[in-house]
Assembly symmetry: C2
Homo-oligomer: 513 residues x 2
């Protein structure tokens, strides 16, 4: 049985000391994910302490996400992974109670892998130790731990929306108006594709700002892009072969896996998906993010986009799913036209979301189907009710219609641009600079930081985590072994508070040895 | 080409007359679903009228849902079916524009069939002609049509929430509070199973009111039960054989069909699913609604529930999905314990929704997983983000916590009970009475009305529709031919305004010949 000596307790209380010992073993992986800890009673007996001591230590570890408990089964070690957590980057919900900690302990990261990367897909659990308290106005560093080892302070993998960035007062005003003026519409079931006002507003917005011209009928709303991907499988067919970028946002591959459809991983070059590899793969449906690839940050140039459209047009069975998830945040240069807008063969399904532009928690995404696919959708899948709440749809429609969305986007672009510039400037002025190379910083809300280090990616990430910084390495996102991509780290700065920038850089310096 | 004589125009304008002619042909099925109408120009030329005349006629038909247009393709006849439309009974959104009519025209009914029932599943389109204007406070009968044939007035297939029944002022107050006081939580990603406060509130409610005792961890929130069914297929396996009740809520079978999993239809007797037929079917996962079967209204007695649990417990692969969708509205007698609460073998997945108790448009449902399935879910499917908006979840949590949900339920029970009693009383006092037999009126929001008539079910339904009443026949819900169930009609009174009760009865009288 797990055992500790209490000779070194010092000024800590017994439970604090026990808590630190267990936590340390978890962070250094002496205790492995999923490992069952002793029952409180037997552990107490073995250690020669009271049950209360064990109880308190367990309770704190649970509340911080290091352990979780299953009713009538016991206490288990959470899985700490170096890869970003859920929802484009993860689910960083605050720990509200014991039960919540279990849930968070059970969440898998988008890659579905633990670190170091396995060659096979395994559904490992991931949690965010110490991410119990998201940064807030009064406690920006998230410090809550009295132990000498810091809890997780800074998360460069998170896309957690900052409350300062959600337009609460406008939203509240619109919700009030909707609840007063649109009562009948609110309780009336919308068409399967969603509330028309919202689809019309989105169509207008896309026309004005993205050069995409479609009828509202072609827009299908959904409660998150993951749901839309499942719908697309039902629409395009379980017998198709799907393809994702390698490296890529692992959650897409997981969705295909869970639906038991064939999924290929297509390697990329400096311009995006390799056409020859795509051809060889036998894929029918290609998922990609040409505006801003995750995780590499790469922007697919127009020439490659045309080649891909050519690939799709050469067979009746082929389609492209264009995931435009953060195209609103291009930092510099002209945006390249969406593939949807240059597609003349009705081969491109365009997907976007309000997760990055508004908040992940409103749960509103949409896909644009080319005409013949829209017709098929209405013929075959229209029995599905729309998954997005009417209340949300009408509020968002109004938010877009009255210009608030555009203003909000401008504000956010400015905010992110300023933060990105500040972060890059601080990196360049820091000790990190001689050993740092910044890549792909011109699009979206993340870029790549290549660091000179003799340490492995795992070592760097583990060290950083122990010092209170969570960061993900690019190498963790490759399904197929690819040489030469070590020492590259993904800096997702969207949820990084400005006041933590210097600390983050400092920790990185210390972590690369 | 389609042609009409304008010799009989009378006092109508040319477009009104043309509108009536086309509408009549659609209602009497001279024009079939999906049939393409002539282009405006050629039709005008052929009829000897102006293009404007045709344009106006088409526009009105589109706005009422009889036609739909596809950009650059033309005008098509909507599919009128006798079966209930979407979303437990349907999607009756008001027509907001041309595009909206197309969507509604494209919606399939839950059975996925047109009337009369085919032996094969076909994805036919359904619309609700004339259901463009739902009943409202100022226009309860929904009369908007100046033509002499009434537009559809009364819908006995709809579960459309009445705005008088949604607790707008309480909801608005709670939303305001949430937007003021819970901002951080609102923008923080919840665990994959949903916001803990809500799951805790639901667990407490189920314990107090349904005798179901579960940990919040076992509750998984989802944006509608259809989404949860898809998730369950991924959890339980694509290789399983699924089974539904026959007759049954056809949408469930459609979901299995669209996911390409094997689905059997199990016949019922007067106590519910026939065990012997279930055994013979080789099914692994049985979906049923023991509290209140749709469409028969049958309540599965405790003895049969135990038999079904015995069936499930005899094999490792077997599970029961208990859909408890309107158990809150039992009209008399004691509720029978949910199968979930008497299941000792961890075989029952319990599903419920706020669609009937609150509104279908908030899009909140949940499933309760037995422990080992919950563990599997967290291991394998927790990468999926929760599909329900945080805003909705926190508002609903508060609504339940502060007792408002219980008060609302009491109010709704009372309202529906009163309406049901009134309807049954009016039937008994009407000319319909000698020819009417009422069945299964003690549970939920629908009952069966058996009518003495020499006419076929299709004839009765068509006549009723022409007179402005929409009703569905039980026979349309059987996948397998079953003799002796003709002349039984499903009366869903949940969206029937009191002031329309007598009119509905009058039309039924006239329709049965």
């Amino acid at each position: 049985m797990l055992t500790y000596s209490f000779s070194d307790v010092g000024s800590d209380s017994l439970y604090q000391y026990l808590y630190k010992c267990i936590k340390n073993d978890i962070l250094t992986r002496n205790l492995r994910a999923g490992e069952k800890l002793p029952s409180k009673r037997s552990f107490a007996k073995n250690l020669g302490v009271s049950v209360i001591t064990v109880e308190n230590a367990y309770a704190q570890l649970i509340s911080e996400g290091y352990l979780y408990s299953l009713p009538k089964r016991g206490f288990f070690v959470s899985d700490i992974s170096m890869l970003p957590p859920e929802a484009a980057f993860g689910q960083n919900g605050p720990v509200q109670s014991l039960s919540d900690a279990m849930k968070r302990a059970s969440m898998t990261n988008p890659a579905g892998k633990s670190y170091p990367p396995d060659t096979e897909e395994t559904a490992e659990r991931t949690t965010l130790p110490g991410a119990a308290h998201p940064p807030d106005r009064t406690n920006p560093a998230g410090l809550f731990d009295t132990a000498d080892r810091p809890a997780l302070l800074i998360d460069l993998t998170s896309n957690q929306t900052d409350i300062r960035n959600f337009p609460f007062s406008i939203w509240a005003k619109l919700v009030r108006e909707i609840l007063n003026e649109n009562q009948q519409e609110l309780v009336t079931n919308p068409p399967c594709g969603g509330v028309l006002k919202l689809r019309t507003a989105i169509a207008r917005h896309l026309r004005d700002f993205r050069g995409i011209v479609v009828a509202p009928e072609q827009i299908i709303m959904g409660a998150g892009t993951e749901y839309l991907y499942g719908l697309l499988i039902q629409l395009l067919g379980f017998d198709k072969t799907y393809a994702v970028e390698d490296p890529g946002y692992r959650k897409i591959a997981r969705i295909y896996e869970k639906h038991k459809v064939a999924c290929r991983h297509i390697p990329m070059d400096e311009n995006g998906i390799r056409i020859s590899a795509l051809e060889r793969s036998g894929a029918d449906v290609l998922h990609l993010s040409p505006s801003h690839h995750f995780p590499t940050g790469l922007v697919t140039p127009i020439s490659r986009r045309y080649e891909l459209l050519g690939w799709a047009a050469s067979s009746e069975n082929r389609y492209i799913i264009e995931d435009d998830y953060d195209s609103e945040f291009r930092m510099s240069g002209n945006p390249i036209p969406a593939m949807q807008s240059i597609d003349l063969s009705e081969k491109v399904v365009y997907i976007n979301t309000f997760t990055k532009t508004l908040a992940s928690t409103v749960r509103i995404s949409y896909m644009i189907l080319p005409r013949h696919l829209a017709e098929r959708f209405y013929r075959e899948l229209s029995f599905y009710s729309c998954t997005v709440s009417n209340f949300e749809q009408y509020t968002l429609a109004r938010f877009i219609e009255n210009g608030s969305f555009e203003k909000h986007l401008n504000r956010m672009r400015s905010y992110y641009h300023k933060k990105r510039d500040l972060l890059i400037d601080r990196i360049r002025k820091s000790e990190l600079n001689p050993r740092a190379l910044i890549r792909e910083e011109n699009a979206g809300l993340h870029f790549i930081l290549e660091l000179q280090t003799a340490l492995s990616d795992e070592e760097v990430c583990t060290r950083a985590l122990q010092k209170g910084l969570r960061i993900a390495a690019l190498s963790g996102f490759y399904a197929q072994f690819t040489p030469g991509i070590e020492h590259r780290f993904i800096v997702n700065y969207s949820a990084l508070p400005e006041e933590q920038i210097d600390e983050a850089i400092r920790i990185l310096c210390e972590s690369i040895g």
